[in-house]
């Protein structure tokens, strides 16, 4: 099967692997919590699937990505009203209809935290 030309989730997974590997520092990662804004065009199922491909055969195999979606929200520079973008994103103020708006959420894309496996240590 070919998924060429459709998804950027694959290369995103490579970036995620680099970051996770650095932070985990050898500990076993169970879950990678990712916060993804609506405007980042991430398809959560695709990200999860691509992660299986990218992590297979690495120390991160078996870990899972959990995506926390963040809706897109704009604020009007003229009247200050905040408007949530719907399914069809119209970048206009829901109050006055103005187009001078700024995006206040929906563009974030970060790894928030890792769930690590329990480590039994004898010391202490």
């Amino acid at each position: 099967m070919s998924i060429v030309g459709t998804v950027h989730e694959l290369s995103i997974c490579s970036s995620i692997a680099d970051i996770v590997t650095r932070h985990a520092a050898g500990r076993t990662v169970l879950v990678i919590n990712v916060r993804a804004g609506q405007l980042r065009q991430i398809v959560p199922d695709t990200l999860v699937y691509c992660w299986e491909l990218v992590s297979a055969g690495t120390p991160l195999a078996g870990s899972r990505i959990s995506v926390e979606p963040v809706p897109a929200r704009i604020r009007c520079r003229a009247c200050g009203q905040a408007t949530d973008l719907g399914e069809v994103p119209v970048f206009a103020c829901g109050g006055c209809g103005g187009f001078a708006v700024e995006v206040v959420s929906g563009e974030e894309f970060l790894i928030t935290s890792l769930e690590l496996a329990a480590e039994r240590e004898v010391s202490g």
Partner: protein, 253 residues
């Protein structure tokens, strides 16, 4: 307190003691660590954006302006560039960075116009990439005589989703949009349309044969990007190509 949590089911837990574990790794010695939540808070595009900044600095040092040209497959980027190079020769020294998944077909079509062309074959990643990222563009820079150029056009991979996500160090973003793509695309791919300062509406020579509603398209574009410039063009007949070339000349220093 929750020393041996089970996370094997993969559930996301919000530990009551998450705060006290929100330190970096390395200082766990001396006590038994449980299934922890380790705070990361790192932007996934950080590495790409750092490289993009390095590219941008290198372009600026060489005194060259860079346009990232994006579109769906088949919108006519390469044909437009061929017409562009034919007209700009002598006015502007142009370099092209060409992103293509498997072939050098597009670069072959641009050869012979006295432009410096660097091909990035993106087929080497995991099954090929659907976009250019900043490291890929960086890899092409040694193959372009930047100091001798006024303008570099990056012909991105044909795709309306992925290229919009990756800053590659460009100064401006432009799109080629074909009237054969219909009126709705700005609403379906708002991130791409919103990120561009110019939308070249190509293939206008086909308008008499299509039901394309130009005002409907422009209305949809305004809903996601009220400030984008729009240039109607036919790369095939040459209509509007001069205005596009003028836009490019305005980008150059």
């Amino acid at each position: 307190m929750g020393r041996f949590h089970r996370h094997g089911d993969g559930t996301v837990h919000d530990h009551a003691h998450a705060g006290e574990h929100a330190h970096d790794v390395g200082d766990h010695s001396g006590y038994a660590t449980s299934g922890d939540r380790l705070e990361v808070l790192e932007r996934i595009f950080d590495e790409n954006d750092k490289t993009a900044a390095a590219n941008r600095a290198e372009f600026a040092a060489a005194g060259v302006r860079v346009v990232n040209l994006m579109s769906a497959p088949g919108a006519g980027k390469t044909t437009l560039l061929r017409e562009t190079l034919a007209r700009l020769g002598g006015q502007l020294r142009v370099g092209i960075i060409e992103g293509d998944i498997e072939t050098s077909l597009d670069a072959d079509r641009l050869a012979g116009f006295c432009a410096a062309i660097a091909l990035i074959n993106t087929g080497t990643g995991y099954g090929g990439e659907c976009h250019l990222d900043a490291p890929m563009v960086r890899s092409a820079l040694p193959r372009l005589p930047l100091a001798e150029l006024d303008l570099v056009v990056i012909e991105n991979v044909g795709n309306l989703v992925c290229p919009a996500e990756f800053d590659v160090g460009e100064d401006a973003r432009a799109m080629v949009y074909a009237v054969t793509e219909g009126e709705e695309k700005p609403l379906k791919y708002p991130v791409m349309f919103r990120s561009c300062g110019l939308v070249v509406v190509n293939k206008v020579d086909l308008l008499p044969y299509l039901d394309f509603d130009m005002n409907g398209f422009l209305g949809n574009l305004r809903k996601v990007n009220p400030v984008a410039e729009v240039l109607p063009v036919s790369a095939r007949t040459g209509e509007g190509v001069a205005a596009w070339c003028d836009w490019l000349i305005r980008q150059a220093p």
